[in-house]
């Protein structure tokens, strides 16, 4: 499966991420399990890599989270967001019809990518974890046990990871502030600090918890939780947002102001 996946996604844009990971001997998925499907209760024990860490590798189906404040069968949100005065003003002023960066195929950014419905392929080595988003064929690489860099602020931010017991903790800062947290448009600023926790609870599931901290927009951190399900019956697919984006090309929606 890995070789087929590798050949499929080894486009120029993904190659840098994969090049970091190819030397790793710890790819792999649990064997002898049934195809993952939503609602699968369990699939056996947590698979582990050669260094003893939980193996997060695989193609994961995720619930679509268009509104992080909701609590549904798919997610546990924070109902009343603790907006600052500036944050509330930004939220009330948002109108996607005046400009939608995702409709223009600009990068969704970390949270809106994590909230999208398309599956993600996770690849893991002792030094890196890479998230390959099917959504628009983007990727994000998380160095393990490194320090934040001082790079240019970006759409997905600067992530570093570490293991807290059996949980992968990903700490991300240095965002450009041009994205939204979710489809409905909850705001954030360039001061956004995202803490994600990935815990493989059994062979079939990852418990995902994210904490949003942004002192310019929120008075205190808040969380959202959901569960990812392994899909051994799927392969990641190519997704070109630009291919036939009639919404933008024909002017049915507006790109964001620059």
């Amino acid at each position: 499966m890995f070789l087929r996946t590798l050949s499929f996604i080894a486009s120029a844009v993904l190659f840098p991420a994969l090049a970091l990971l190819v030397p790793s001997p710890v790819f792999g998925q649990p064997t002898g399990q049934s195809a993952g499907e939503p609602g699968a209760k369990s699939g056996g024990p947590v698979p582990r890599t050669q260094d003893g860490k939980p193996d997060l590798s695989g193609l994961w189906q995720r619930p679509y989270v268009p509104d992080m404040t909701k609590t549904t069968k798919d997610q546990q949100g924070t109902a009343d967001l603790p907006f600052t005065e500036a944050g509330l003003k930004e939220w009330k002023a948002y109108d996607a019809a005046k400009g939608d960066y995702t409709g223009a195929c600009l990068p969704f950014g970390l949270m809106r990518s994590m909230n999208s419905t398309d599956p993600i392929q996770i690849m893991q080595s002792p030094k890196y974890v890479a998230l390959l988003y099917e959504q628009n064929s983007w990727f994000h690489v998380i160095p393990i046990d490194k320090k934040h860099g001082n790079g240019v602020p970006t759409w997905f931010g600067d992530s570093i990871g570490h293991w807290d017991g059996d949980t992968l903790v990903v700490d991300t800062v240095n965002f450009n502030g041009r994205t939204r947290l979710d489809t409905i448009g909850h705001p954030h600023s360039d001061a956004l600090h995202v803490m994600e926790r990935f815990t493989r609870t059994d062979a079939m599931h990852i418990a995902y918890e994210v904490t949003i901290d942004d002192p310019k927009i929120f008075t205190k951190p808040w969380t959202n939780k959901r569960t990812f399900t392994l899909r051994t019956d799927w392969e990641i697919m190519e997704y070109s947002c630009e291919e036939n984006n009639k919404d933008l090309y024909e002017g049915h929606l507006k790109p964001p102001a620059r």
Binding site: P66, D95, T102, I184, W234, E243, N244, L253
Partner: protein, 139 residues
């Protein structure tokens, strides 16, 4: 065949999709949930392409005038995983599309359901994109 713009009648028998269909953009960025549309006519073209499929329909209004419509559907990857293909609907098929009009007033819509004259549903819409909570049928 006729074109009507009216409040969409609820309970049109849509079944829950096995996968949500999501737009690469917010529904509200482009479409008006207060302007539903029901189009019946002949399929003239199908774009089975990212980020959304597009269906083209020649529909006659009450006066017999043919209007050319284009309607956005779901992403092909999601539709494929739900069991659909570009051959699920063919050029020349008669079809009824229920959806919502674009805010810009052009003959553009967001398809929430597509049905053949037999009543059989085929792939459709971009549900759960912040738009009206209508899910497309499963195959």
């Amino acid at each position: 065949m006729r074109v009507k713009t009216a409040v969409l009648v609820g309970g049109i028998g849509l079944l829950a999709a096995s996968l949500p269909l999501v737009a690469h953009h917010s529904f509200a960025a482009e479409f008006d949930s207060a302007k539903s549309v029901s189009l019946t006519g002949t399929v003239t073209k199908i774009d089975w392409m990212n980020p959304h499929i597009w269906l083209y329909l020649d529909a006659k209004d009450e006066s017999g005038t043919v209007a050319h419509w284009q309607c956005e559907g779901g992403p092909p990857n999601v539709l494929t995983r739900n069991g659909w293909s570009k051959d699920s609907l063919k050029v020349g098929d008669q079809a009824t599309i229920d959806g919502f009009r674009a805010k810009d007033g052009t003959n553009t819509c967001n398809a929430r359901s597509v049905k053949l004259p037999s009543g059989k549903s085929v792939f459709a819409g971009s549900a759960e994109d912040g738009g009206p909570n209508k899910r497309p049928p499963t195959q």
